[in-house]
Amino acid sequence: MSEAQMNENKQGKLEKPESEIKQMWSALIQNKAAVVGMVIIGFLIFIALFGKWLMPYDPNYADLSVNKQPPSVAHWFGTDEQGRDIFSRVIDGTRVSLVVGLTAVSFALCIGTVLGAIAGYKGGKIDTFIMRLMDIMMSIPNILLAITFMAALGRGIDKAVIAIGLVTTPEYARIVRGSIMAIKDSEYVQAAKVIGNSDTKIIFKHILPNVLSPIIVRATLGISTAVLETAALGFLGLGVQPPYAEWGDMLGRARVFIFEAPYMLIFPGIAITLTVMAFNLLGDGLRDAFDPKARS
């Protein structure tokens, strides 16, 4: 490249005020709700990483002499039926719950988006095949299907995540397919074809960015469902293995003592709500930040 060309190039670049990502970021941090969401998520990640040093007690140490104690100075969130410190267990459960929620949703999102995109864009027999398969999966209750997958995969939290991811895949596939069908015949998609784009490029560059909103909203809501479903699997002895702490599992076990010791239920419940709320707020912010119309 000659020097003249380079100069021109620089000038060309100078006219570009901000990159796409920078614009999105500045739109995101101007959105107060999204910032609150990000702060909470940051806080949760901090706890997940450094919780080990913040716990006053060993979360798995059972002392039956102090079981089912209401919140006090010694035990901030009280103790459970086995006398374990709930505060320590909530902190310890953060890591597992965050990982479970995020991984299961990402798993379902990736597979569901690809399947839904192919079905919606291609149509015809491929569409029928994929969507009937999804219908079959949806017709079986989630937890039953997850148990079936676990029976095939084996026990353990990692397998529970895969099972939950697979089970929730049809929901994403449906949403993506529907959104794609709504815009695949629009003129700008046709225009993308006229200028010589391949199908893959049309789907990923022109269609998916325009159907992001419902997908993001569903995914942020999906995190809570994933946490709760992991809890249900744990309750059946298929998820997190005792004595390890996990919010959903704590909630499931505390259910029996709901009138006797409500605090056993309240604190893991608050933790789940807070997480879900944080992801929803961030999700809404992301949706607006991705949309150039909402940005301006």
Binding site: M1, Q5, E8, N9, G12, K13, E15, K16, P17, S186, E187, Y188, Q190, A191, A192, K193, V194, I195, G196, N197, S198, K201, H206, P209, N210, F290, D291, P292, K293, S296
Partner: protein, 330 residues
């Protein structure tokens, strides 16, 4: 506008049928014949106008040429190559030669891309320029269509309809096409903007030596820009002639009706011909009339053949004035 005799594009017996309903076994039971056995040639550097009312198949022809739809049958021969016989991958190589300007500028631009990126994309995909030269070309194209360089990073929703259509034209020009299919490029615009965009198209044609297939539903717009004009009705080409020949001596009853429907601007000027009002609606293309497509609305006395046999389109005057009407053959 000099028209030479080199054929750029030829379509032979082109048809496009859409399946409307299928039975349980997937066999089509209702078929919409959007385009039915249409043939014509487009010469290099001419502007070929295609008119007809909504639903007559003119847009479908344009979109088949631009690779949006695949033809059901017939040939699209571009520079001696039958595009219909190519695989999708081979077909894409011709995208840079035939481009399309869409009807609705509000729907044809991706709302998530800046207009600069929209114009740069076709250059990028077809690998026409090295990466560092693309930006320069984008700014040049923006200037060509009358937009300013500083608008490069704006999104489509920040522009008016006329400006968006200019972006659409710049996108079509980006790959240096030989043929541009203009699919009613001004029908979605205000009348004041229509003239601007039409004049831009005329200027660009001369500047870049383009060939146009200009689709419109009004004869007045086509008159301004075209060299030859084809008239379509219900999926079939009814009449085809050089512009002045068609406007001064229309032969097909449908063309006559179309011409008489064009408003006369000066109230003092009387219409030189009687106003022809067509009765009834256009028949459904799912179940078109048996014989001549126009037979159900034709106001000229019918012949026996009109209801039975679809007339061939033939040169009746020997002056390259083609018409599909039994009465003209006699």
């Amino acid at each position: 506008m000099a028209v030479n005799n080199e054929v750029l594009l030829e379509i032979n017996h082109l048809s496009k049928h859409f399946t409307v309903e299928k039975n349980f076994f997937g066999k089509p039971t209702k078929v919409l014949k959007a385009v039915d056995d249409v043939s014509f040639k487009i010469y290099k550097q001419e502007a070929f106008g295609l008119v007809g009312e909504s639903g007559c198949g003119k847009t479908t022809i344009g979109k088949m040429l631009a690779n949006v739809y695949a033809p059901t049958s017939g040939e699209i021969i571009y520079n001696g190559v039958d595009l219909g016989k190519l695989s999708q991958k081979e077909r894409r190589a011709y995208c840079k030669d035939i481009q399309l300007v869409f009807q609705d500028p509000y729907a044809s631009l991706n709302p998530r891309m800046t207009i600069g990126d929209i114009i740069a994309e076709p250059i990028h995909i077809n690998k026409l320029l090295p990466a560092h030269e693309i930006e320069k070309r984008v700014l040049y194209l923006l200037n060509c269509v009358g937009l300013a360089s500083h608008q490069r990073n704006r999104y489509p929703h920040e522009f008016s309809g006329g400006q968006r259509q200019r972006v659409g034209i710049a996108r079509a020009l980006a790959v240096e096409p030989k043929l541009i299919v203009c699919d009613e490029p001004v029908s979605a615009l205000d009348v004041s903007i229509q003239a601007q965009v039409l004049n831009l198209l005329v200027d660009l044609k001369e500047e870049f030596g383009l060939t146009y297939l200009f689709i419109a539903h009004g004869l007045n717009v086509v008159k301004h820009i075209s060299d030859r004009v084809g008239v379509m009705y219900l999926g079939k080409l009814q009449e085809l002639a050089e512009k002045h020949e068609l406007y001064d001596h229309p032969l097909h009853p449908y063309t006559k009706a179309l011409l008489s429907s064009t408003p006369v601007i000066d109230p003092k000027l009387k219409r030189n011909k009687e106003r022809i009002l067509l009765k009834g609606d256009v028949p459904s293309p799912i179940n078109p009339p048996q014989g001549c497509r126009f037979s159900t609305r034709c106001y000229v006395g019918k012949l026996e053949a009109c209801d039975k046999q679809c007339p061939e389109i033939i040169d009746v005057t020997g002056n390259k004035h083609y018409v599909a009407c039994h009465k003209q053959v006699q």
